[in-house]
């Protein structure tokens, strides 16, 4: 690798042992990738030092304590020694976490786990990390600019960062983001470089226009399944592009596959034309998305649903935007639900939902608004849940396998209807 002077200095230990170990990990990682240099980054989104009770107990047993610095040293930086961890450089935020600190008992969390999370947050604050606790940092105050080099985790945020904002990040992991927080470096590989940002395949929409949030999610799920790690260029009738629809499209594409970047011609920032999006190359293949494909995606997403009696409606995957709160509050105002309903979001968006009256409307109807986490991350559903209704293709992809439930997929309206009646009646419109 070609190392800059500041990188060599960090490796030599000039800036302290923690930055040295962080650089060592980044070099191991960059060499595995086959990268030949690093790029500077000042926008990092990760989960530094956060530990489940398992990790905490593991390190108590194997290293004497499960403190933030122990977990950060031995696990995040994969170093052989416990170090004093300096404050993060640049704009660093913590992504989603394990529980809502107000409604932790509803999530079935122990007092010990809750107290541990409080302690972790105090450490994060002490280390200069913004406690955003969301999978949607771009809706909560971390919005990079086009061309900015970032080091982000969270596949749904990564795909949004690259595709919608035009900033540059690979799908980083816990260890690489934690190392980048101390060093401001990340391997200059993949999506940091112009030549790897062009589309490889074309997906042409031949259905009636893709317009609803559900249809954007289904198209995303289809695209991810076919593309895996490739970069699709979507053409055809796809309408009403807004942050909410991009959020659902990208999250779905990054679940059924590993899509980290997509182009929609005439919509996303690096796709002024089909030719520009493809980097003047021919697509490897052109894939049709027609009525038949749409039907198949819908059936796949509903393959886990059998019993129409719904116990639990989960909304907010990825974390709900303020416009989703408005929609859900509109559907619930003055009504009472028969199932459990949990809606997940960031603390920033919840604050706006609170003062806008949306939280109260949802809670008056019998729902709960929670922050920081979601059912899949927390592995928590209301006690006795057998059947879930979801409006997120991503959550459908993960939740049934993770907590052993049946799941239905449909529109937000289908889900609210299920909450009000206790029965799933959604159909493909």
């Amino acid at each position: 690798m070609i190392l800059a002077d500041d990188e060599k200095a960090m490796l030599d230990g000039v800036s302290g042992v923690a930055k040295q170990k962080a650089m060592e990990l980044l070099v191991r990682y960059a060499e595995a990738l086959g990268a030949d240099r690093f790029v500077d980054t000042h926008n990092i989104a990760g989960v530094p030092g956060s530990s489940t009770l398992f990790l905490q107990k593991y390190f108590e047993e194997h290293a004497g304590d499960g403190s933030f610095e122990t977990v950060f040293s031995l696990y995040d930086l994969d170093a052989g020694e416990i170090m004093s961890v300096p404050a993060a450089t640049g704009n660093c935020c913590h992504l989603q976490g394990g529980m809502d600190l107000e409604h932790w008992t509803d999530l079935g969390m122990s007092l010990e786990a809750m107290q541990h999370q409080h302690a972790d947050e105090a450490e994060l604050a002490r280390h200069g990390v913004r406690i955003m606790k969301t999978c949607t940092p771009y809706l909560a105050g971390n919005l990079p600019v086009k061309g900015e080099h970032c080091a982000w985790m969270e596949s749904s945020a990564v795909v949004y960062c690259n595709s919608v904002i035009g900033a540059r990040t690979n799908t980083e992991g816990r260890e690489s983001t934690s190392a980048a927080m101390l060093t401001g470096k990340i391997p200059d590989w993949g999506l940091h470089r112009d030549e790897y940002r062009h589309g490889t395949h074309r997906v042409h929409v031949e259905t009636k226009p893709v317009e609803s949030v559900m249809d954007w999610g289904m198209l995303g799920y289809f695209v991810g399944d076919i593309m895996q790690e490739n970069i699709p260029v979507v053409t055809g009738a796809i309408r009403q592009a807004d942050p909410l629809r991009h959020k659902h499209f990208g999250a779905a594409a990054a679940s059924s596959g590993g899509v980290e970047m997509y182009h929609i011609v005439g919509v996303t920032p690096e796709a002024a034309s089909l030719e520009i999006a493809l980097g003047s190359r021919q697509p490897v293949a052109t894939i049709k998305y027609g009525a038949e494909e749409r039907r198949r995606v819908y059936d796949t997403l509903n393959a886990n649903g059998r019993d129409p009696n719904v116990d639990y409606v989960m909304l907010g995957c990825p974390h709900a935007s303020i416009d989703q709160f408005r929609e859900v509050a509109r559907l619930l105002v003055g009504k009472k639900i028969k199932t459990h309903l949990w809606m997940f979001t960031s603390r920033a968006v919840k604050t706006v939902a609170d003062i806008s009256g949306f939280t109260k409307t949802i809670e008056d109807a019998g729902g709960l608004v929670m922050t920081d986490t979601c059912s899949a991350i927390a592995r928590a559903v209301p006690k006795g849940t057998k059947v879930v209704a979801l409006d997120s293709a991503k959550q459908v992809h993960y939740l049934p396998a993770m907590v052993g439930v049946e799941a239905w997929f449909g529109t937000t309206e289908d889900c609210i209807k299920a909450a009000l009646t206790g029965r799933w009646t959604g159909e493909l419109p």
Binding site: A32, G34, D78, S155, N170, T171, W189, G257, G258, H397
Partner: protein, 136 residues
Amino acid sequence: MIVLHGRGIVGGCAEGEALVTRETISGWGGIDPMTGTIIETRHELRGKSFKDKVLVFQGAKGSSGWSNAFHMTRLTKSAPLAMIFNQMTTKIALGAVVTRVPAVTELDQDPLSVIETGDWVKVDGDRGVVEITKKR
């Protein structure tokens, strides 16, 4: 014996029985890090564990928790003995590095065509060499 040559991305040597899938593997939400079992609903290896196996697969997909999930298998002693894969991504590079098991990619023949589940496979991550003894 069949010998494949590629690029070692994590050093060390290990040998054992192969567990092969043409599919990519999801880390977080796709495996149970406590047991090394694939849990993804539609995966062809669903219910099978890669613990103490040489995992031969297309690559990584899904959540950015990939490295964390595989890193955890190292702590729970459920990690694969070694990894052989085709498609390089940040998820798998970081995941292999922190799992600290020998890992090889960019092989001169497609390992998914050459290696079958149950074959005995020796992985040399320092030299980027894979030796395969067919089960029959």
